[in-house]
């Protein structure tokens, strides 16, 4: 017989164990559902296409879904259609906003809630903390060049230079050590590249690349005093070389949306942006891997966190221009690096 499931998640190309936002979202949903005794389930579309996403949403709705959570910007077009097809179902779109395929119309119905994150802020904290901890030769691995990942990278660069400026130390961050891997899975290429970077003197790589970060972790552990900054979740458990992680509260966001919905406080038809101020992004509380500097780094992080929340520091977002401007105010000129941060805009 068929069972029904009230809370549904539809995954995008990755699975629920992608060590990234799919997994984070799923864990949030599970936590809420188990606590509140709700039925929950995920659906995997048959392929990556708007039609298949829509079909999977259909399936979820037929399976009894009252609220559908979809992590990833890939769902933007599908949700745009689904929100009108199923006015009685609630949609939570993480990392995106519904629009038509050609971007001509953006529309968020009452039954849809969009959740964005200020990844640049947590990237900034990470960069700041690392330089503060004495690491001044940095690199960046992005899984692919999409807005969320770009924001991580831009924040990382900005935070590092900001700290270097504050401490008045020289920072090494060449454009050669900033790359988009084009893969969220570990590959020999990623491992080899990371090894080469570490050999060339890089001491920390921020791996905003899902599972591919695992390749960087291996390279770091093989070196000495080499580190990786994890992403999305606290990855310190995955490797001893993960010095800290850029947390992104997808699970918390899912829980918040579910709580609102079940408590009758659904407030859709809008986009919320979760940054430092909202508790959407942060570094984990444990700074022990900074060794002797741990306390100092923690203190500095808390200070700069407050400044960002207060708006005293405005972290550049995902465009080259704002990063360039930010660096200029610090008296830094690293045009090559800036160009790498947000490659080739279309059209």
């Amino acid at each position: 017989g068929e069972k029904t499931y009230e809370i549904a998640m539809v995954t995008d190309s990755g699975g629920i164990d992608d060590k990234s936002f799919n997994q984070g979202t799923w864990e949030g949903i599970k936590e809420y559902a188990i606590e509140n005794d709700k039925s929950y389930k995920y659906y995997k579309p048959s392929e990556v296409s708007d039609a298949a996403y829509l079909a999977a949403i259909d399936l979820a709705v037929q399976g009894g879904a009252k609220i559908v959570i979809t992590p990833g910007f890939l769902f933007e077009t599908a949700i745009y259609a689904a929100q009108t097809t199923y006015p009685d179902v609630k949609f939570v779109l993480i990392d995106g906003e519904p629009h038509t395929a050609d971007y001509s119309t953006y529309k968020t119905e009452e039954n849809t809630l969009n959740v964005l994150f200020d990844e640049h802020e947590v990237g900034f904290f990470a960069g700041y903390a690392l330089v503060y901890g004495g690491y001044t030769n940095l690199g960046f691995f992005g899984g692919m060049s999409v807005p969320a990942v770009q924001r991580f990278g831009i924040g990382w660069v900005a935070g590092a230079y900001y700290a270097a400026d504050e401490l008045d130390v020289a920072l090494t961050f060449t454009a050669d050590h900033y790359t988009y891997l084009g893969s969220f899975a570990p590959t020999p290429e990623a491992q080899t590249t990371a090894t080469a970077w570490y050999n060339a003197g890089v001491s920390v790589i921020f791996a905003a690349a899902g599972g591919a970060g695992s390749s960087a972790m291996l390279a770091a552990e093989e070196g000495s005093n080499k580190w990786v900054v994890g992403v999305d979740k606290d990855q310190s458990g995955d490797s001893d070389a993960v010095i800290t992680s850029a947390l992104k509260g997808v699970g918390e966001a899912a829980i918040a949306a579910l709580t609102d919905y079940y408590d009758g406080n659904w407030d859709g038809g809008r986009t919320i942006s979760l940054g430092a101020a909202e508790g959407g992004v942060s570094l984990p509380a444990d700074f022990s891997r900074f060794g002797a500097n741990a306390a100092a780094v923690e203190a500095a992080y808390e200070a700069v966190f407050a400044k960002v929340v207060a708006g005293t520091i405005v972290v550049p977002t995902n465009d080259k221009a704002s990063l360039a401007a930010f660096l200029t105010t610090l008296g830094v000129d690293n045009a090559a690096l800036v160009a790498k941060a947000e490659p080739a805009p279309a059209e």
Binding site: K30, K41, V48, S49, D50, L54, V146, A344, A346
Partner: protein, 402 residues
């Protein structure tokens, strides 16, 4: 009158195609399919038992019986809607299978279908985005360009083999990767990326291959890809079996030396063969992406998952279809059907990968069953001949008495 004759002839042809000879050739495939599905059901049962007995705990318990019905109902689960979807998914599979099968028939192992699909898709999408043309011509042109690109990619492998003796398997494997990274460069170099994502822009509406009668198939996913695939099947069937070109290509495939002896240009034939195979794969790639809401991603993972894998599926389809064009048609449909069933397994809390396990088992058993079938056949014949000779001896004995 004449029309009637034609119909009669056509009917006869169809009968000849499916009934006695093809049927018996397909028997091993049916045996294999039976085994594969049984194996799948068995696995599902085991998982169910393990969960029920508490050996494993999962988020949602699998529902065994419901799962079986979903699996078997495959592409029929959501009626017309899922039939349409199945046909839509089958088209590229059929074409990939046709590409690999065609090459097999001409003695070549085209493990390069993935790469040919990639370039076919990339070029078709390029034309679909950048060229402005009225509706029917635009998609046709895009499709054609994709086919040419795929053909060219296949041709390179053929030329390397024919002229420089490079083993087509290695060349194909390398060309797959070259295709992938070239495609990335091409897409980025031509600014085809959709700025906010890491995939291409959508193709223009005029470049989308027509999606079929909306009401009938629920209107969204069904497109004429399947019809194009069937046309390709027919064309390839005719080329292989009715034309001098097919005759030559097969001759070279079966026996290169004899073909050379008979005055055929074996090198050219190898190149043509690979080019045709590439054209088919390129067509598959183009059909896969000249679709609304479908984009090429410039990441290794996605390219592998979305395009490369379909090319590799082509090998399965070709093998299951016995390297026969009509076989590829049915094998492609079957694979899409079972995958669709796998997708619906979601509902019964089994993973969709079940379909892949089943497919793999089917392929394995189809390898075995050809042998099993031959064995059975041989045994039967032996038995027959023995009874015959026994009868003969008996007759002779009888004659002796008289």
């Amino acid at each position: 009158m004449k029309f009637k004759e034609m119909i009669a002839k056509l009917w006869l042809g169809i009968k000849k195609l499916f009934v006695p000879s093809s049927y018996s050739a397909a028997v091993p495939s049916f045996i294999a399919i039976g085994f594969g599905i049984l194996f799948g059901i068995f696995t599902m049962f085991i998982i169910w038992m393990l969960v029920i007995t508490g050996v494993f705990t999962v988020d949602n318990d699998p529902q065994f019986f419901y799962g079986i019905t979903l699996l078997l109902a495959g592409g029929f689960n959501q009626g017309m809607y899922s039939i349409g979807y199945t046909l839509y998914r089958a088209a590229p599979l059929i074409l990939a299978g046709l590409a690999v099968g065609f090459a097999f028939r001409t003695g070549l192992f085209n493990i390069g279908a993935p790469g040919q699909m990639i370039v076919g898709a990339t070029i078709a999408v390029y034309v679909g985005i950048r060229v402005s043309m009225p509706a029917p011509w635009h998609w046709m042109f895009a499709l054609l360009c994709g086919m040419i690109a795929g053909g060219l990619w296949g041709f390179i492998v053929g030329a390397l083999k024919a002229l420089l003796n490079v083993h087509e398997v290695v060349a194909s494997i390398m060309m797959n990767y070259v295709a992938m990274y070239s495609s990335f460069m091409f897409i980025k170099g031509n600014n085809l990326l959709d700025g906010n994502t890491s995939h291409t822009l959508g193709v223009r509406a005029t470049a989308m291959i027509p999606y079929g009668t909306s009401a009938f198939f629920g209107g969204y996913v069904m497109n004429i890809g399947i019809i194009l695939a069937i046309i390709a099947v027919i064309v390839i069937y005719i080329v292989l079996n009715k034309t001098t070109l097919g005759y030559q290509l097969k001759a070279v495939g079966f026996n290169k030396d004899a073909s050379k002896y008979a005055g055929m240009n074996t090198k050219r034939n190898i190149m043509i063969s690979m080019a045709i195979s590439g054209i088919l794969a390129g067509m598959g790639g183009a059909i896969l992406f000249l679709v609304s809401g479908k984009y090429i991603f410039v990441t290794k993972d996605m390219m592998t998952a979305e395009l490369m894998s379909v090319g590799f599926d082509g090998i399965s389809v070709a093998l299951l279809g016995l390297s026969n064009p009509v076989g590829a048609l049915f094998a492609g449909l079957f694979l899409a059907y079972i995958r669709q069933g796998g997708y619906y397994l979601n509902l019964a809390n089994y993973m969709a990968e079940m379909a892949d396990v089943i497919t793999a088992v089917i392929i394995y058993f189809s390898a075995l069953s050809t042998a099993l079938y031959a064995l059975v056949k041989a045994k039967k014949l032996k038995f027959k001949s023995r009874t015959k000779s026994r009868k003969k001896i008996a007759d002779e004995d009888a004659g002796g008495e008289v």
